[in-house]
Symmetry: C3
Subunit: 315 residues, 3 copies
Amino acid sequence: MSESSGAAVVPERKYIPRRSLMYVPGNDERKINKIPQLAASGADCICLDCEDGVAINKKEEARNSIRKILDEQSLDFGRSECTVRINGVGSGFEQIDMETILSGPNLPSSVHLPKVENLDHLEWFAAELNSVIASNAAQKIGLILFIETAEGLLNIKEICRRAQELSDDSFFVPEAIVFGSDDFAADIGATRTKLSTELFYARQAVVTAAKAFRMQAIDCVYIDFKDLEGLEKQSLEGAGFGFTGKQVIHPGQIGLVQKAFTPPEHRLQWATQLIKEFDEHQEAGAGAFVFRGQMIDMPTVKQAKNVLQLIAKDS
Amino acid sequence: MSESSGAAVVPERKYIPRRSLMYVPGNDERKINKIPQLAASGADCICLDCEDGVAINKKEEARNSIRKILDEQSLDFGRSECTVRINGVGSGFEQIDMETILSGPNLPSSVHLPKVENLDHLEWFAAELNSVIASNAAQKIGLILFIETAEGLLNIKEICRRAQELSDDSFFVPEAIVFGSDDFAADIGATRTKLSTELFYARQAVVTAAKAFRMQAIDCVYIDFKDLEGLEKQSLEGAGFGFTGKQVIHPGQIGLVQKAFTPPEHRLQWATQLIKEFDEHQEAGAGAFVFRGQMIDMPTVKQAKNVLQLIAKDS
Amino acid sequence: MSESSGAAVVPERKYIPRRSLMYVPGNDERKINKIPQLAASGADCICLDCEDGVAINKKEEARNSIRKILDEQSLDFGRSECTVRINGVGSGFEQIDMETILSGPNLPSSVHLPKVENLDHLEWFAAELNSVIASNAAQKIGLILFIETAEGLLNIKEICRRAQELSDDSFFVPEAIVFGSDDFAADIGATRTKLSTELFYARQAVVTAAKAFRMQAIDCVYIDFKDLEGLEKQSLEGAGFGFTGKQVIHPGQIGLVQKAFTPPEHRLQWATQLIKEFDEHQEAGAGAFVFRGQMIDMPTVKQAKNVLQLIAKDS
């Protein structure tokens, strides 16, 4: 929860919703040119990808293209967050990815670090980021961690804790955990099904850890992009489990997923009224207070503020 | 499992079943006057509440009223255990709650400590209890811990272990873990449903940790108190998962819940016969022995004794 | 994953599948004489049991009979692995079991260690094995750990890690975790059902830990041996969760279970082709490469090799 202290004194980041998280391969010019349409369709987060969406012999092309996109700032991301997924620590591409993409004058809003399995991975990333990034960076960048192996899941508590510790002296803020469902299933030898029973334990373990550290939890991909009914069901299930967003692999999935992870009207009214009363109590010098029969503490106030930020973004 | 050693030399506590755990707000005179009826309806555990059932501006009234109930001993709790839930560590009320309620000549049988999230919470409680409680206390009091946040669940193993360590030099014995379902769901941003699929992971994680430390596990509340069919289904599911009891919020839930967590007839016969044979083997100087084809070790003997204590209480 | 270093310099073990794991009580002559039939029916692993399948007053007979079977080598195990289950650490039988069974010239392929709950259990086993086993053992034996109590499950990560550490200087290689479903259910006070909902958390936790340490995960027993439809359903569910095999209690369960845990034809083709391309890339000096759109790293290569070893065994 401590978000900014130590060496890097930069402005605090505001809350960024990531209800839908859409990947665009960094080397795929045709798809890159369609980014303004993705943004217009309302995707909260558009990720320029160097990792799984990019073939080995296209890695160089992808990272150079992403650097160019950041440098030129000519693509209209609208209200969507512009992020980058580098290759994982140990892939052999991670260092050149970071040197190429994160050393320029314009940074992505957040970096996705895939296949985080242990503390070494995080520590390498933090050190490398501090060495690569311009020391006059306007603000910290968000870190979006991927848990997508059995080892990563087994170490998730230690990984989250270390990410928060490292952020004190580094240029990142750990903001989200993505559950990489298909890599995870492959790693444990599970077979993916539409009901995802085989991922029950892992999904709820990821939500629990993410929320304990006040991070977002981003749910698995729904592979069959033609089955919108199945997508809606799984999206609502994920939202009900406590996930705050979902990865999407097709533009046609964005609208439905955004809606599933948007708080309903009554939740907005609850948040609006709560923050109003909280502000009144603050002015009157009172601490905790009762709202609709419930004692309101700071985490609840933060929850309500997050709800309102979602609205602010939409209006 | 070590129950009494170190500084506080007091008699060991006997096993107290908590099949149904009913809350009564400490400041609600009308409900307090109905406690004898709750006891008559068979609730194993009646908890005088200072926490979630009591509004902020009624906290003082609640704690003074509870102290008065303990002092006067005029309310008939029958065979029900009389317990008290104080406010959680960090709420700002925990110290005055303990000083008011636990410094008198008569103590509740057990104290409920809500929202335990980390070892600091436990350590504060243990130190405060030792400073507040009369050093000539007739016996240790039971400690009933609440796991009801993501952080608490993430730390449950360490919390249980530390509770057992601290009990050696303190006036409490950790006896039960309550899974605070609705606070937990709010904390992780989950939506409560009747099937409680969203709590699957958390409920089974709580049972596993509680049983590893030979503590009771007390299941979630069933909110819709008019739906007795749903209540019965969830109660039997909980009992089948290994929970030993369930929180109730309405007198009409008590009978059904007590029954769901009472071992069936064949289990009683198993326990009766097993203890009989165990006693015979003990007299003959034998150690482990075979009963109905199964090797009987001490945990199984303890299980059987617990079953019999439930009966003893009922007869 | 480090399989052989330190004091004991012996050949590496090849991969041994354990799709079905069948127990034979060490003292039951009639069943022992039927081992060649079990082997002929295709059981990957046949375990000579000293533990739960053997009554207290038959323990001595069982361990002596097992030693005799190993010494005489006259029973035809065919392509089945010959293993032994000793009694658990703390049972009072573990030392004499190991001294009797593991001190001869012929060793079982693997030893099953039941009811592993903490690091002490493992450390005792490792030390005892080093003291008992002939120092000129031809190769290390496999260690098959049982997680079947709440405490064991709570410590599973530490147990797996310690098993791998200890294997460096000991004569065993940790190869598999068995989930002991019925002991586990008894330990947490759960009631076994055909759907096994009560074991959901535990089963998926065991798979996750096993796979994080690249060990096999062997699923629960299906008690009702006459219900082949139910057995098939649970076997396929287990395989879908990532288990690599299943315990069986009746010869009639073997064929169906073997089939459920055998990779289907398309998986075999995937593995065959992948290894072919991997070998080509190795010759060309390339590292990671793309296969069917996926980056291939060493764990995936190992998965593919395991698949092929299953075939090799069958042909």
